[in-house]
Amino acid sequence: MKIGLFIPCYIDAFFPKTGIATLELLEKLGQDVEYPMDQTCCGQPMANSGCNRDAKETEALFVRNFAKYDMIVAPSGSCVHHIRENFDAIEQTDEVRHVRQNTYELVEFIHDVLRVREFPWAEFPHKVGLHNSCATLRALRTASMSELGEPFFSKPKTLLSAVKGISFATPKRPDECCGFGGTYSVTEEAVSARMGLDKVNDHHNAGAEYIVSADTSCMMHQQGCAERNGVPVRFIHIADILNGARS
């Protein structure tokens, strides 16, 4: 099985460490991974703004880059959600359908496809607050949703629980959106930043040293809010922890 690694634009530019951790982790888990060099973005920013037509060429490029792989893995829930649910600016050919059906978010890939539950190399002696992005929570369904009253499950927590020394903080509103929302973060910056600050405060007040998430975009926003307001909480992608980062 050949895996195409999709590193979304903001991870590529601002959080390369997370990209490297994702690659290394997949390799540690015995996967044959390749990063196609001509990749840029999945088209989500344009589509979420309503400008779906402007996403057409970007989606086409994505398919050109990734159609040859059996599976595509990305350390970003919102991008995977876009590819799976909304990637329809281009004509739906067999190739496109193949890409859409075989793109996985990192956590669900490890949890559901590889079914790996042990990470013997990983140790993270810190109290973490787990942030499930709305895309992973309510679209990809990697954890139970409080609104539905369904039995508790959390794929990211299941994976993280195998990490030595880790403990979890329980925020008051675990499912509350952090306010990033893609372009929402700039079109309604005041509400967005308020939500972000409320979110990091909730985690901090629950005793979290780190906020951990499968979505870097949410954390980029939360980190910006935390730093501006002096909330002493740090941020780390789940790929980094599972790959063995100690801090």
Partner: protein, 470 residues
């Protein structure tokens, strides 16, 4: 007439400026959401109820003309006068006509969103007809000359001190009152004489029952029972989508409505009107006002399933932090954001963008409206109809071009790291950069993943491939 889009973002920013209001509003509505969750946990059949409610509404909407005719026939049999209004203006004229025929001039009214939608007060009052809201929250909003902030708790954006100020001005009470009980008592005392002397009672309604020709009004204050029964003339206004086929179907909706809205099992009063009281006269006005058109919209017809519980507003993290007034509409919050553009796509073009698309609204909706999917669909339609700001559209066009050309893209981001590291703070953090107004930018990094991969992996891969091919 060119109407400006509602500036939701800046109105919301204004609302956020006062900590007392901001914190109360968020906590109050979140508290309602929590109470709703408790009720849900008490009923193992919750999801079945939602499913049934959704199916019943879908069925009814798919057979709407049939059930409307059935309702009309049965209501008439019971002695109710049934009127039909194509739009708000026609509705208001009908009300005016009924009052004129009786020589009446004062309406006591229980809360109904649809009369606000029809702008009935604005139409009737210049004609010398007084309209007095009797629901406490709605009355506060009326006195303050504001639209309701929320479909269930109309004055939820106000604090006690705000209400005290409004009452002091209109009821001449002490502006320093800081006890909600005293203010509620002031309203009770002010309302009683008006209720006792009103010549016409008006209510809205939550449900129309086709099979019996009756309608149901749910309130907590009991003001609908007073407004409807004190005068001899009762006019009820309902949207044509409010139908349910059978009396038994009410069981499903009544069990969901208040639990979803306030987290209480039921409203204090669930009132069923089937015919006029002895010696009285009863009118029902069925209002279309864009509903028939919405029913024809493939992507949006299901928003007509809405039973106006406000659960989507309570759970919406954006609504909780922006306040209902920032939507500039009768219907605010997520449901407003998908309904309002059907009334006026330009004026409400900003509302589908007042969302992070987190999807919580869809999950709490008791009739399973796919609210966040409809928000997404509205964005596409509004962009195609050029109802989004020019700059945003241009940026997206540029982004689309850039992101589809790998070489150009690589070139363009090669400067990012340099920019973040070397530019003075005032350049990065100014009013042109909405990101940086309340947030720090991401930290600069030495190299992108792309160039790391090129250096660390591509070389190895090439060597390995050469190795195998030789």
């Amino acid at each position: 007439m060119r109407e400006k889009p509602v500036p939701h973002a800046s109105l919301a920013a204004e609302f956020l400026r006062d900590d007392l209001h901001r914190i109360f509003h968020d906590e109050r509505l979140w508290g309602m959401r929590q109470k709703r969750d408790e009720q849900m946990h008490e009923l193992p059949e919750w999801q079945e109820l939602r499913q049934q409610a959704s199916r019943l509404k879908e069925h009814t909407l798919a057979h709407l003309p049939h059930y409307l005719e059935q309702f009309e026939q049965n209501a008439k049999k019971n002695g109710i006068h049934v009127h039909w209004a194509r739009d708000g203006a026609e509705h208001n004229r009908i009300v005016e006509g009924i009052l004129k025929a009786h020589g009446h001039s004062s309406i006591i009214k229980s809360k109904s969103m649809i009369t606000d939608e029809c702008e009935m007060r604005e139409y009737l009052e210049p004609k010398g007809i007084t309209v007095t809201e009797t629901d406490l929250g709605e009355r506060i909003q009326q006195l303050d000359n504001q639209l309701p902030s929320h479909v269930v708790v109309p004055a939820v954006q106000k604090l006690t001190k705000d209400v005290a100020k409004v009452f002091a001005k209109h009821y001449h009470t002490d502006p320093a009152i800081d006890d909600p009980h005293a203010l509620a008592e002031a309203q009770r005392n002010a309302a009683r004489p008006v209720l006792l002397s009103g010549d016409t009672g008006m209510t809205g309604g939550n449900f129309l029952v086709a099979e019996t020709g009756s309608f149901v009004v749910c309130t907590n204050e009991g003001n609908a029972d007073l407004s409807a029964n004190l005068p001899n003339l009762h006019i009820a206004t309902l949207g044509i989508e409010r139908l349910v086929p059978r009396m038994e179907d009410l069981g499903v909706f009544i069990r969901l409505l208040s639990r979803s809205a306030l987290g209480s099992p039921i409203t204090q009063y669930t009132t069923h009107f089937r015919k006029p009281k002895k010696g009285g006269e009863m009118h029902v006005i069925l209002v279309d006002n864009g509903r028939s058109e919405r029913l024809g919209m493939e992507d949006f017809w299901s928003s007509l399933k809405c039973i106006r519980c406000g659960a989507c507003m309570n759970t919406c993290p954006v609504y909780r932090r922006s306040g209902g007034q920032s939507y500039g509409a009768v219907y605010s919050g997520p449901i407003g954001a998908i309904i309002d553009p059907t009334f006026n796509a330009k004026k409400f073009s900003t509302l589908p963008f007042a969302s992070t698309m987190n999807g919580s609204c869809t999950n709490v909706c008791p009739v399973k409206i796919d609210i966040h999917d409809q928000l997404y669909k509205w964005r596409r339609i509004l962009a195609e109809r050029h109802e989004i700001p020019f700059v945003k559209k241009e940026i997206m066009k540029m982004a689309g071009r850039l992101l589809s050309q790998p070489k150009l893209y690589r070139l363009s981001i090669s400067g990012t790291e340099v920019a973040l590291k070397t530019m003075p703070r005032f350049v990065l953090y100014n009013y042109l950069n909405p990101w940086g107004k309340h947030r720090e930018l991401p930290h600069p990094v030495k190299e992108t993943f792309h160039s790391w991969y090129k250096k660390n992996r591509l070389k190895k891969e090439t060597t390995a491939q050469e190795g195998t091919s030789s």
